[in-house]
């Protein structure tokens, strides 16, 4: 039986510790790196637009769309979870966190299905810059998703063991990272799947 301490400080917004956290530096650097990768993609696209558009048409837009909804919803659940912890309703917070984790796994499942589909259809990174960049960008992003799931899982464990101020700060910090993962996908989805 999990017992929660009613010691968490109720805050309206980000705690001072999370606001000062080094995660902001990490997020800033990561977003700059991805912005540079977007530039690389657009530059390579400019060199061979017909190849990029014809390859793009073979992507499964439906899966990309579903994955976008999944990540947005997962991000929302993490934000809702943090709100619940701030209001000292840890049971709701854990429930939202569980659902967010489930959706994170679901994103990975869809991504792996998509990779399998692409590889089986003969898509190769050799000689096709679109697929090279598609696999590079989505794989890098997938590693971020895996990192986020691990982080959320660890934080969930800490919160179940002891719901205190420190645990609240840790979910806020991991939450900032998880929202960045969502934010990057919000740009990756149109860049890879939609823009013609």
């Amino acid at each position: 039986m999990v017992k929660y301490r009613k010691s968490a400080v109720i805050t309206e917004h980000l705690s001072e510790e999370a606001a000062n956290s080094g995660v902001w530096i990490f997020v800033t650097i990561d977003m700059i790196i991805f912005l540079l990768l977007f530039v690389v993609f657009l530059t390579e696209r400019s060199n061979d637009i017909p190849l990029f558009i014809s390859s793009q048409l073979h992507l499964n837009v439906t899966i990309g769309f579903i994955n976008t909804i999944i990540l947005i919803t997962s991000s929302w659940l993490v934000a809702s979870s943090i709100q619940s912890f701030r209001k000292n309703v840890p049971h709701n917070g854990i429930r939202s966190l569980n659902l967010a984790l489930f959706l994170g796994f679901l994103f990975l499942l869809f991504k792996l299905y998509e990779y399998t589909e692409k590889i089986n259809s003969g898509a190769s990174i050799i000689g096709n810059y679109f697929y090279l960049l598609y696999f590079t960008l989505t794989f890098l992003h997938m590693l971020h998703v895996i990192g986020g799931i691990v982080g959320l899982f660890i934080v969930r464990g800490n919160l179940i063991r002891s719901f205190d101020r420190k645990a609240l700060q840790s979910i806020e910090v991991v939450g900032i990272y998880w929202h960045m993962v969502d934010l990057l996908w919000i740009i990756l989805f149109p860049l890879l799947y939609l823009l013609r």
């Binding site: 917004h13 980000l14 001072e16 606001a19 000062n20 902001w24 800033t28 977003m31 700059i32 912005l35 977007f38 530039v39 657009l42 696209r45 400019s46 637009i49 837009v61 769309f65 976008t68 909804i69 947005i72 919803t73 991000s75 929302w76 993490v78 934000a79 809702s80 709100q83 939450g175 900032i176 929202h179 960045m180 969502d182 934010l183 919000i186 740009i187 989805f189 149109p190 860049l191 939609l194 823009l195 013609r196």
Partner: protein, 91 residues
């Protein structure tokens, strides 16, 4: 309804609606230059919602982070829009 009074819930509904709108633009309206421009603008709007409501970037210790997000969004619009306008012969 308490659900609709919570800005996090409203942000999620807005994000899902915008995503569906982008999908509709591609599938039903136009996937060309103007469709692509609309999708870029909708995407940066989503980035703005995520950073301001979910990430609470305005509460980060350094105000520079909030400025960084605005600059990042601005650069995405300039870079994406610039490349597409260039190929359209508008630049």
């Amino acid at each position: 309804m308490v659900f609709f009074q919570n800005r996090v819930n409203l942000a999620w509904m807005g994000l899902v609606t915008i995503t569906c709108l982008a999908w509709l633009i591609v599938e039903e309206v136009s996937a060309g230059f103007f469709g692509s421009c609309a999708i870029i603008l909708l995407s940066v709007l989503k980035v703005n919602i995520v950073s301001s409501v979910f990430m609470e970037v305005r509460h980060a210790a350094l105000p520079g982070y909030a400025i960084f997000f605005k600059v990042w969004i601005f650069l995405v619009v300039i870079i994406f829009g610039g490349v597409f306008a260039y190929h359209r012969g508008l630049l």
